[in-house]
Structure formats: C-alpha cells, structure tokens
Amino acid sequence: MSATLSTEVAHGGGSALERVNDFSIQVATVNGSGSQTANTVLMRSIFQMGVPVSGKNLFPSNIAGLPTWFTIRASRRGYIGRKKEIDFLVAMNAETANEDVDELAPGSAVVYDEPLRLNERRSDLHFYPVPFDKLVAPVCPEAKLRKLVRNMIYDGVVAHLLGLDLEEVHKALTRQFGARKQKAAELNWNAVLAGEEYARNHLVKRDPFSVHRMNENAGKIVIDGNSAAAMGCMFAGVTVVTWYPITPSSSLVETLINYMRRYRIDQDSGKATYAIVQAEDELAAIGMVIGASWAGARAMTATSGPGVSLMSEFVGLAYYAEIPAVIWDIQRVGPSTGLPTRTQQCDILKNAVLSHGDTRHPVLFPSSPEECFSMATTAFDLAEEFQTPVFVNSDLDLGMNNWTANAFEYPEAPQKRGKVLTKEDLDRLGGFMRYADLEGDGVGWRTLPGTNHPAAAYFTRGSGHNEKAGYTEKPDDYVANMDRLSRKFNSIRAALPHPIADVREGAKIGLVYCGTSRYGCEESRDQLREESGVETSSLRLLAYPFGDELESFIEQHERVYVVDQNRDAQLLGLMRLDLDPRLTAKLRSIRHYNGLPLDARTVTEEVVRQEGI
C-alpha cells in the first residue's frame, strides 16, 4: 500500500484522491459485546499519532443485544463535530449490516465479517472480508471470552489498512487494560496481531483512507464531558452531592465518587470532606441539595430532563426563598422518556423559567470538557453569590463521548461564598434583615443555622415574605420582593461568562449557538466560505441571561441564524422573550433534532436554502 503524504495518488481500478487524516470510521456492533474497549483503543491510537480525533458512541437504551455504532472522526483541520457521511465501515453486526452498507457513499471502505457476504450488495465500495471466527479461535482458547476478544481483531485489520503505527495501538491497549489486567491485555493484543497479520497477508488496500502522523495533540488529554464536570466539581469544593441515577448523567456522579474517594479524604482523621447520597428520586435529590445549601454547603445534583421536570417545584422554592443550588442537566432527547441515549439541547427554555409563578434561572452552556471543568466553579460561585439555583446545561454528546481537550487549568481564584454573616458580624451589627437590598444588587445577607448569636436566626419560607423574612400577603411587600428578585437577576448578567464572538469584516449574516452546536457551526462556516463564498460571523453563547453582546451582534448583521438542537427553536424562543422585537425580527432559525449530534452539513444546507444561494 502507499504510504506517501501526497494527496493525489492513483489507485488500481480507478483514480481517487488519497484521503489522509480526513475521514470517519463507523464500527457497527452489538451492545454488550465489549466493543467499547476495541473502539477506545482505535481512537486513542489515532490520538497518539497526533491527529485531531473525536469519538461518538451511538448506543441503544438497552443492556445487551441491540445495535450500537461507534464513530471515529480523524480530521487534519481539527473538525471534531459529527460527520454525516461515513467513509470507513466496520460491519460486525449482522442485523444492521445490509442497511449500514446501503447508506454508504460510493468509494467507501467496508471491513466485514466474511459470512455476511456484504460484497454481493454493491459494486462501488471497497470490501475487505475478514473471517473473524476463524481468527479468534486460535488466539482465544476459552470459548466464552471469544465474543469479547473478537472485536480486537478489527483493530488489527483497521490498523493495517489505515497505516496505524502498531506501537501506538499497543500503547493504547496497555493503557486501556491498566497494570492490573495484564493477562487480559495480552489476550487482546494477540487478537490485534492476528487481525493485522491476516490483513497484511490477505487484503489488498484499495480505498484512499489513511492516517499519517501529525503533531496536533501535544499536551492534550482525552476525556468525556461528565468526567470533566466531576473533576471540576471536586476542585470547586463541592461538599454535598445528592442524586438519582438517570442516563446520561449517572456517570458524572459515579466518576465524582471515584475522584472524591481518592482526593477528598482528610489525611489526619481518614474521614471524608464530603457526603454523597443516592436519593430515592429526583425530588429528594434536589430537596437535599436545597437543605444542604440552606445550611451553607456547596451542594449539587446531576440529572437529565425528566429529573429536572420532577425538581420543578423545589427549584421554584429555591428561587423564591433564595437558596443556592447547582443542577447539572445532561440533556437527552425528550419529551417524556424520549430517546434516553440520544442527544439534544431540549431543556434550554424549561430550565430558564422552571417552576410555577414568575421565575428565572441562570443557565450555563458548556461546549467542551475544558468548559465542563471550569464552569463547575463558575456555577458554585454564582449560586452562592446570588443565592439562587444555577443550571449547567451539558448534553449527552458532550457528557458521554470522549473528546480531545487541553489540560485543565487549576482554579486560581478563591471560592466566592457570597453574603454570609458570621457571629462576629452580628456582634458588630446587632441584627440583620434577610431580604433587604443593602448594596443595590438585589442580593440580601444570610446567616447559617448553627450561628451562635441570638439575632442569627430567621425563618425561611416559600410563602410571601417581607425584608425581615416575616410572613406577608401585603400587595406592596409582594411587589417589592418580586422586583428585587428581578434586580438580582439583572446583577447576575454581569457576572456570567461572556459569549465568544468572531465578527468578520463584510459578513452580512451571523450564526448564534450554544454548547456542542459549536462544532457543526464552526465547520459549516468554513464550508459556506469555501463552497459558496459566503462569509459569516458567529457568536457562541456561554450563558443565560444573555448580555449586551448578543444585542450588538444582532445589530451588526442583516440576518442572524440561531442554531438549535431541538424542534421548537428554544434558544431563539428565549431571545424572543428577552429581546426587543426590532432585534428578534432579524432572527432566523436552524433546527436539528433527530437525536444525533449536529453536523456541519445540516447547518450549511439550511443556510444555503434560506439564503437562496
């Protein structure tokens, strides 16, 4: 096979451009067959070769037996969003193989289990049959392990076909199994070698795809968003975590438990500097968070859309009684149970206004592991500074998939614990009014239960209350309190992370988006420029409530496309609630909501269609 870096290489049977470090691999397997290990090793091998790479696991809501697809994208230009087209298929699942092959574009490559005879379906693809069962038997004498080891064979085959450095594959595999599982690592390595040897001796490379070393990953890490969030919460100083398991958020807390056990045990006493409690449901989870935050702890929960729906009443209490809370919402496809293992950004509108009555909550939109890590500290600081619930809207794509990221930066700033009066403060002041707005920012001073002072106590209630936290039904008291809460929400605006703008000279149109939509949008802007000659500006929102930057961005452009990963254009809807109609008249909508991560082509096609290009 050719191993040159030239981009145009003639291949036997027809001329094709060699595609170096620019293609996507899809592995179709069965849930529960251990393919995750093989896929991770494959992805890491490419990562170690310095090539920008991303992996996405498309899995069913099922323990074992249903189809699963894992997509790995290598991109020399650094695009890590989902690529709509599959270039290189590894077909291991008889159930979906025909359909998977039918969907491929001409010229794609297919590694498949020989008995499936997929080569009979089409003549415009590059087929590589591999007798997996014959190859696995000699390397894995124990029959019951074969189902798991079998998948490692395709790693060897693919490594040969794409030109992966076997040393890197070995390194990735050793790392995956760890020092304690040496025997398993050896068994799997032998399977990789068997696959590689078979490919070398029996397959003739015909497809154009290959991996060549780059140096784009120096210093980088590979991590999923939920683990990054968990790490962020540990460094943010969380002390109370109460939760109820729900896909796709469970791994956030489970990873956090592991980190906390390692790094948050007091050395002298051997006791924990945290409490993590699995609650009986999401109502209890948020109730415990609110009780703990009221008593002064940095408390959080992690959940997904259905859990947030259950927390609605309590979140209204926390808003009105002004109690901090950090809620991670790893969004998945709704409504109702929806598609529990697919991704969407469908809780934007709900979280911003959750609960009955007039309520508003800040929402953060992380787009990467780095932001999951840093926004954990931001969320706790905001919650305590402004004594209010804060949502962090991640999503399944970000939370559960592995991403390449820059090493996280240690949080340097001191924790912002907000306006809390101590016994010494009270000795000096004599007393306090819980809900009085002394500084004009709408935020009152609070005391914590257990404060040893006769004037420390106050009564917290979700019913009408005045400045002194006393019960009231007086119209003036009610209005004054609600207006102060509005003032407080405005103060939050200034403390939020600012949106990231890329305004291009002469661009008439702009794209506005948040969270993981950035990957499809960033790539689409290149496509629009390169394919259609259309220059665009972009604004990535990091938080709600929106700031002035959004308004001026809209002012600067003739038309602004708001990109939403939901059916009802929720991000756009939130803008309609908050912005002047003169500005919202310029907004257009691009929506993507089929449960798969947003891809660039979808955005490009919509802009082209709506612009009439």
């Binding site: 890490i221 590979v222 790490m231 540990m234 460094f235 100083g237 969380v238 002390t239 109370v240 109460t242 980190y259 948050r264 007091d266 006493s269 006791k271 924990a272 500097t273 945290y274 409490a275 409690v277 609650a279 009986e280 449901d281 109502l283 209890a284 989870a285 948020i286 109730g287 968070v289 609110i290 009780g291 703990a292 935050s293 009221w294 008593a295 002064g296 702890a297 408390a299 009443e313 309590f314 209490l317 090493a407 996280f408 949080p411 001191p414 924790q415 914590l448 239960p449 257990g450 040893n452 002072h453 006769p454 420390a456 106590a457 009564f459 917290t460 209630r461 979700g462 019913s463 019960y471």
Partner: protein, 347 residues
C-alpha cells in the same frame, strides 16, 4: 425609707437561659388546636434540657402543623419547605452540618400522603432528626378532607364515612428503621414531655406520632381523632419519665415495675409499667402489640420502640467532625499537584 419588693430570681436552665429564650412567635392556629399544646411542650422541653437554641434547626412541610416551627424557638433557624418534602430538606441540612439538632414538625397529610415516599426513605436512613407528626386525620387548611391516617369508619364533619384503611406512621417507622418510635396525645402533657426529652437525647431518628385534634374540622361525634375519643380510647403503655444526664436525682425504684433505658448521652428513659408488660426494645413485639390494640379499638401511647445503640446515617457516612458547610477552601480544593497528576493520567 423605701421598700423595693424583691423580684423573685428568674428561673434559668443549666446553660443559664430563661424559658423566654425558647419561645416563638404568637400562634395563628385555632384556639384549642392540639398543635399549640405540642409547641408549648417543645418550648418547655428544649428549655429544661438546656439545649442551645441556636444549635437547633426547625423544618416543616405545608399545612397547619407545618406552621408550628414559627411558634417555638425563635432563636433557631426555621425552614417551612414544600408539601411532604421536609424529610429531604432536613436530611440535606444535616449532611451539611452534623452538629445541628434537627427537628421536623409536620402533619398527617405531609407524612402519610404526599410525602410518604420521603418519609419511608428518611426512616430507612435513620437520619438523626426529631420527626413529629401532628396527626389529626384531616386536612385543615383546605377545610376538612380526610387524610390517609383517618381510621376506617371515621365520620367527617360533613357526615361522610371513611371506608379506607389508615396508614399507621408508627408501624412504618418501626418496620423500616427509625430507632425511636412513640405515639402520644397532645392532651397528655406529662407523657409528651417525657417523650420529647428522650427524642432530644436520642442520636438516631425519633418519630413521635402525636394525636392532635383539629377543633374546627375533626372534633365531632364519630371522629376517631377528637378530644373526647382520645379521652376514652387512649391506652398508655407506661408512664414516661426522663432523667437527663446532668441531674443526679436518685429515685427509689420498685423492683419489676420500672424499665430504665440508658440513652447515648447518659440520660435515662424511665418507663413505669402499667397493666401491660411491654418491652419497647423488642421490634416484633411492638408490631403485634400495636395490631392487637387496634383490634381492641385502643390508641396505644408511649414508647413503642427504642434502639439506643444503632449507628445513624451521618455516622455511617463518616464525614469529618467539623460541619461540611463551613470547611475552608484548603480542605475542599485539592492542591495543584492533584490536578497535574490527573492530567498526566489522561494524556
């Protein structure tokens, strides 16, 4: 020569506070409501036990009973949360600060209906809390609907007869994991005092189901939660005395008539036997005795179950001695080297 009448010395408890320091706001409940008597007992007991009021945290859900925390211990923080959810809120607060003395006052609507899920799980965890159910068998704030603790056959004020079986909060508590379970009557001052003091001393979850008549909606003929019904059907298991650890009064004990149970703090719960030979440390016996009393149309009151030794939820979690809430940043943010090591693992 002038004579100034000598003011009698004010009565103080062993930490030097007066009963005044334990009072709350003026009640807004109906005159004669059983809940007011419970609030008065709480004021007396916290005073006599010499508890620092600022160390107490009060919780409730929604309903008449849930207004009670405003009517005792103004010097303690209070939290009137959402309907049926005081167990989770109070659990969270105790996680944040294990040095607090938490007390929940709720009703039968909170506990046996909307919040029964949270109630059951609080029991399972044996969270160190005093959980008082002011049980009147009726929804007061919404004007007289039956609650889930209404007895089968009980008649509402409008004449409707309840045909469903009641939830017995004490039976649930004993079966699932509370370590101190008692039933009382708001009109039995002495018994309620003894039980509340024991609950203050107990280091696990104390559940006290107090039959507390609603004078407005459930005090009529045909009600099984009225003052007159309780006067006729209250069947005390024993008289309850509580001897705190800080008093050393020695009383002569009649052999065989008194059961002394030592509490975690060294206090003693002294049960004087009446007709029943009842040992509240026997869980199975407790359940069968309660069932037998129901069949006999009696309301059994007193200490139904006590396990003074089991570990509570906070002890199982093994957190540092200081409150998690106020740990300094140095204790809650791992050093820079930890992040560097984690980054290295992920490269």
């Amino acid at each position: 020569m002038s004579t100034i009448p000598a003011t009698p010395p004010k009565k103080t408890n062993h930490i030097g506070l007066e009963v005044l320091n334990y009072r709350g706001a003026k009640t807004t409940l109906c005159a004669g409501c059983g809940h007011n008597a419970v609030s008065e007992r709480l004021v007396e007991c916290f005073f006599e036990m010499g508890v620092e009021p600022w160390r107490v945290a009060k919780f409730s859900g929604i309903g008449c009973s849930s207004k009670s925390p405003a009517y005792f211990l103004s010097m303690a923080h209070g939290f009137n949360s959402v309907h049926g959810r005081a167990p989770s809120v109070s659990t969270g607060a105790m996680l944040a600060n294990k040095t607090l003395l938490g007390i929940v006052v709720t009703g039968d609507g909170d506990t046996a209906s909307i919040g029964i899920g949270q109630y059951i799980h609080m029991l399972r965890r044996n969270v160190p809390l005093i959980y008082i159910i002011e049980n009147n068998g009726v929804y007061g704030l919404t004007k007289g609907q039956f609650s889930a603790t209404s007895d089968s056959g009980a008649k509402s004020k409008s004449g409707v007869v309840n045909e469903l079986q009641p939830v017995d909060c004490c039976v649930e508590a004993i079966q699932i994991g509370a370590t101190f379970v008692a039933r009382s009557f708001s009109g039995d001052k002495r018994q309620l005092q003894g039980l509340l003091k024991a609950a203050i001393a107990h280091r696990g979850l104390s559940v006290i189901d107090v039959i507390s008549p609603c004078v407005t909606f459930n005090d009529h003929e045909g009600s099984t939660k009225s003052y007159s019904y309780m006067k006729d059907h209250d069947e005390p298991l024993h008289t309850v005395d509580f001897v705190p650890y800080f008093t050393d009064i020695e009383v002569e004990i009649e052999e065989g008539q008194v059961q002394d149970i030592e509490m975690h703090d060294g206090s003693r719960l002294r049960l004087h036997k009446l007709e029943h030979a009842y040992d509240p440390t026997d869980r199975l016996k407790a359940l069968t005795t309660i069932q037998a009393s129901k069949d006999a149309k009696e309301v059994l009151t007193g200490v139904l179950y006590l396990d003074a030794t089991s570990e509570n939820f906070l002890e199982l979690l093994n957190t540092v001695d200081a409150p998690l809430a106020t740990l300094p940043q140095s204790a809650t943010r791992p050093p820079r080297e930890v992040l560097s090591a984690l980054m290295e693992e992920l490269r």
